[in-house]
Symmetry: C2
Subunit: 312 residues, 2 copies
């Protein structure tokens, strides 16, 4: 059976005119490294779940994406990370939210899936559980990059200005850049898996949880339909139960993955949201639609040649 | 248009032979009070969303149910409460998790829905946000009932014994009693809404989050299909994305609410889970299936006569 891996590194206001050749090359190289990592698992007959974890780990370790190292800062100047993972063969799932000490939140999600009877653990409890199960821990300053720190300062300045202008709840305003990473894979045994990892929103407050750690919203995988990972304004993806809605449209309305993903992205748009989706079915059909300026994305198959794209 | 309200007060090992007549009467009276509270809203032409909140508040305020006052204790001897709410007309949704100071977590969920741009807030941030928006706060000992405290002590004794016997991860074992409360309503304008509130699992650790605060898993409402609230072993309801799956089966496979709820409950059972669902569509058709010994449940319509049931 033909295997396939599809990844995203976030969607949003990614414009060619604002990108330097060096930065673009760095993103493409990081995406290729992530694709090769997952492909290495799949080409040897490994499981889709392990390929998803392998490729997401690469993106978490890269400072370029809003996941793991390079995660955005919350209002208090800290990093709080979310991740989720699902096995399409068994519908087993794991998720962690408000992680502050794990090098790889996706590994935390995997440990919740495999070593606990729970699906979702939060905060210190999630950190402690994963660490006790052997996950690699880091000090909170591991995640820090100067670019993200400056983004927080700018977001706070903007917020202060808007609050002075009498604009309430600006702290809860949604961003136009989403660096969430995700992967969907089909292995040689015909099994699907999906995973998503993020640092959430810059300047987020009040313990905000987005769609990335929510099974059904940001991540879903079912061998009977498809594997899905989402990125974008999480609130609208939660309200649309986006990942599971794609799966339901494929399973019950017999839509193609292209059709189903577009229907759901249009629904998210109707709700006022933007972002993107990656979807893969058991026949290896995949789609990577987005309704933003760009989405870091890529795919790899049996020929071992990574294909990446950023803009429309 | 005919209105309808359907509620549940949790499913589980509720056996007639273990119930005293006094206790049964108390549960029935509490369910009737909750039904009348919601009916009062609906009969005057009020919104389904407000009816759901009104009936859930009554059950949160009652010490009989595992929500609000009377919530179960976590491993640390504290109460952490979850709730979620969804408006089928707009797909607006709100959810709070790990609440420790709100008298009515469902009010917190409503404030997240209406006063923030977010859908889900967690922990202290959620408490602080809701309090700043005017939600009534209580000291943590407000939730305490002696029965729930004794349940925690028994659970810990059992856990210690099992750990001595070399049984690992017993702290993560799932319970057979679920006191989660929920409501679904159809108002005279033909709008649907759903809500769910819970104290989670006795002796829960590691910041475990169940299905109750997860839009799509424990709660879902869509005027184009139905309104759903779930109770049971939350992990399996998350993996099945149970509430949204019922909605998808009604919307895309054109199943009746009875058929859709049964299909999903069977799926949850296949995954190893037990519990129950309440589902209501725009024609006022409703169903209250469960695969446990009993489920506290009830319904009320235009005749204003509450109907309640507990056992099979």
């Amino acid at each position: 059976m033909q295997f396939r891996l599809v990844i995203h590194g976030g969607a949003g206001a990614i414009k060619k005119e604002k990108m330097t050749p060096e930065k673009e090359a760095a993103y493409r190289a990081a995406l290729e490294t992530a694709l090769r990592a997952g492909c290495g698992v799949l080409s040897k007959g490994g499981a889709a779940l392990d390929a998803v974890i392998a490729s997401i780990k690469v993106m978490e370790d890269s400072p370029l994406f809003n996941a793991g190292k390079g995660a955005v800062f919350n209002h208090d100047g800290r990093n709080e990370l979310d991740a989720s993972l699902m096995d399409g063969r068994t519908l087993a799932a794991g998720a962690v939210t408000e992680i502050t000490t794990l090098k790889n939140p996706i590994v935390g999600a995997h440990l919740v899936m495999t070593k606990s009877k729970h699906v979702m653990l939060a905060g210190k409890g999630a950190d402690d559980f994963a660490a006790a199960q052997g996950a690699e821990t880091v000090s909170p300053d591991y995640y820090r990059t100067e670019e993200r720190w400056e983004e927080l300062q700018k977001a706070k300045e903007k917020e202060e200005k808007e609050e002075k202008d009498g604009n309430k709840h600006t702290s809860l305003q949604l961003e136009e850049k989403f660096g969430t990473v995700g992967a969907v894979a089909l292995d040689q045994r015909g099994n699907l898996a999906a995973g998503t990892s993020t640092g959430g929103l810059t300047n987020k407050r009040f313990g905000r949880i987005g769609d990335s750690p929510i099974i059904g919203a940001g991540t879903y995988a079912d061998n009977e339909s498809c594997a899905v990972s989402a990125t974008g304004q999480g609130e609208m993806f939660i309200r649309a139960v986006a990942a599971h809605e794609v799966s339901a449209l494929v399973k019950y309305k017999k839509l193609s993955v292209e059709q189903a993903a577009q229907v759901v992205l249009d629904k998210v748009h109707t709700l006022g949201g933007s972002g993107g989706l990656i979807v893969l079915d058991r026949d290896g059909h995949f789609t990577m639609p987005f309704n933003t300026d760009g989405m870091y994305r890529g795919t790899i198959g049996p020929d071992g040649k990574p294909e990446t794209a950023i803009y429309r």
